[in-house]
Chain length 204, copies 2
Amino acid sequence: MVIKPQTRCDTAQRRREIALAARQLIADKGFEGLRTRDIAERVGINVATLHYHVPSKEALIELLAQSLRDEFIARQERRRRDGVTSLDRLRLEFADFRDIALNNPALHVVMTELADRARRDEKVAAVIRPMQLGWRDHIAAILAAGRDDGSLRPDLDPDAAATMIIGAMINARRHDKDIAFLDRVTAQIERALTRAGGSGGGKP
Amino acid sequence: MVIKPQTRCDTAQRRREIALAARQLIADKGFEGLRTRDIAERVGINVATLHYHVPSKEALIELLAQSLRDEFIARQERRRRDGVTSLDRLRLEFADFRDIALNNPALHVVMTELADRARRDEKVAAVIRPMQLGWRDHIAAILAAGRDDGSLRPDLDPDAAATMIIGAMINARRHDKDIAFLDRVTAQIERALTRAGGSGGGKP
DNA sequence: CCATCCATCAATCAATTGATTGAGAACACC
DNA sequence: GGTGTTCTCAATCAATTGATTGATGGATGG
């Protein structure tokens, strides 16, 4: 199971490894199946060593949440911001989500698990909620701009629509393993938010 | 904690009580915090008695899933089906979701937890997935009818839009405890799916 | 070369947890 | 009242699990 021949390494590095292993395990077996022993094994260290770097399971979960937030922020910052119109920027959001769904699906799974846990764990909530709010606000800002510059329909409620978009994308991935379905959903969102409204009528 | 003075009762009734207690506990502490002892205490019986009626925890979870499905089906059937237009019927869906959110919020919480578990538990998946698919198909059918009778926009992709609607409603409830926000989201959905597309422009 | 700190591990602990056992109470039927 | 079935519980088990302990090796600086 574990390949890497272990050498000593400093706490910062070990904590990164531990967070990563925890994430993979959660993606596999869910939060309820998360065991410190499994994490240690995956990292290739003793349980005691794990507890040396991360004092308790609670601290571990907080570490996990922070690790997730860090990656989210990193992704956010490395994005291109060069959309010309608001619609372009919205499409960029769709593309980003699609990219994660394809290349790092565990991220969404763990995100969902943590979001559920945030419901009853204040420590996790303190890390996760701002992240979710930030995402929503980010999309809402794009929508508001699009509404005002005319590239999106004028009767948009930015916050409500942003919530709709995020929920739609997550739900599209929840069941359908087929990425094409996500594309259909984002295409439908786009049609639903642009001005035209299919007023031309008729099916092509 | 437990009030009811216990008397003997038959397996069918006990299993109902157990499923209900399990549901409440999951709503409180999540799947990972579900303990057979806690369930037994909540029902007011001994753990051994619980295991007499429900042989294993796995069986318990399956029972839980079935209990949820039964309630869902029951709700589905007791609904009024008298929407005149498709838009009316869609609004009825919104109202149903709103009603559950207000009067039985635990239902949505447990539903989400079970949906997550279905990812790695085939038994649960076998019960939950058809239920979710049924919901989506139900809404998709309404949308398809609306598209064809002209009360909804002609460029609708019923399955994609249904997924969007469900995801939007769930996501609206996930964070915002305020029911008014759900109303904003459903209002936005409605605007997004009807033909007009705000082509009249301008804010009131 | 030595003292010190850091990282690691084998062994073990205490608590939790799903499940079982064996015996007894409530009930039904005759 | 007798008999068998159904339901219930106190006590207990075996396994799991988060966490600790005490010892060991290695690196670093003097």
